[in-house]
Symmetry: C2
Subunit: 141 residues, 2 copies
């Protein structure tokens, strides 16, 4: 009757990603983020993931998210001081925050342009990470 053995690997999920052991909890967190591209917060992940893992704890969700971020499996996205959001899109991209709907849309870079073309960087700068955040509205015209 019990269909949900606690820590079974799912058949469609590799044992490891980028050297990170994909435990059941990490699988579910990662699966959720690939399925729902809405940039959920840790708490939203926690609430949704309970369907699959009723006994999961919020601390575990945080642990999983951190492990996945650390191993470059997902990205952590911050808007001001709002709760962190998480995103399985690893392509370099920015985020547009629509003030009307509250939704977040990924924004791609145009091909062939680099940030150095736009910004007056100090010489000899090694950029390891870029974050671009836009805030505004999708005018409905």
């Amino acid at each position: 009757m019990k269909t949900d053995t606690p820590n079974n690997h799912q058949p469609d999920m590799p044992e490891e990603i980028n050297g990170l052991r994909m435990t059941r909890q990490r699988q579910e967190v990662y699966r959720l983020l690939t399925r729902e591209r809405t940039h959920p917060t840790a708490n939203e992940v926690f609430m949704r993931i309970k369907e699959a893992l009723p006994n999961v704890s919020l601390a575990t969700v945080y642990n999983c998210l951190e492990a996945l971020v650390q191993h470059n499996v997902i990205r952590q996205v911050n808007f001001d001081r709002e709760p962190s959001r998480y995103c399985s899109n690893l392509d370099e991209h920015g985020h547009f925050h629509d003030e009307k709907t509250g939704k977040i849309h990924d924004v791609k870079f145009k091909s062939g342009v680099s940030l150095a073309d736009v910004l007056d960087l100090p010489p000899n700068t090694v950029i390891k990470d870029v974050e671009i955040t836009l805030r505004g509205q999708l005018s409905a015209s």
Copy 2:
């Protein structure tokens, strides 16, 4: 003997900026940010401002910073979930966070380029605010 009457307007400070009454506390907060371009946190502002206003409270510093931000007199800058930092440079610019020194440098946009040249924005987007954050190192070569 008492040279520091609590709420005196300083002679070199307007009574109002952008419609915000410049009380003594707001003056000192603003003055500090224009003098020190190091992007201090609320707590750093609090500690430094005590020289001029020994009885000021941290809550007041937060209130002042918020009022100044709201009236577009200063900008609030966030790096991930670190404490907010504040900045009196109102020109549109990004921030480069040097991982070695921990210091933050303003990064100007090259003249004549706009973000729309670089990003694949959805059509009919009205951008109200842009935030660009870079993280890396100033290689010492």
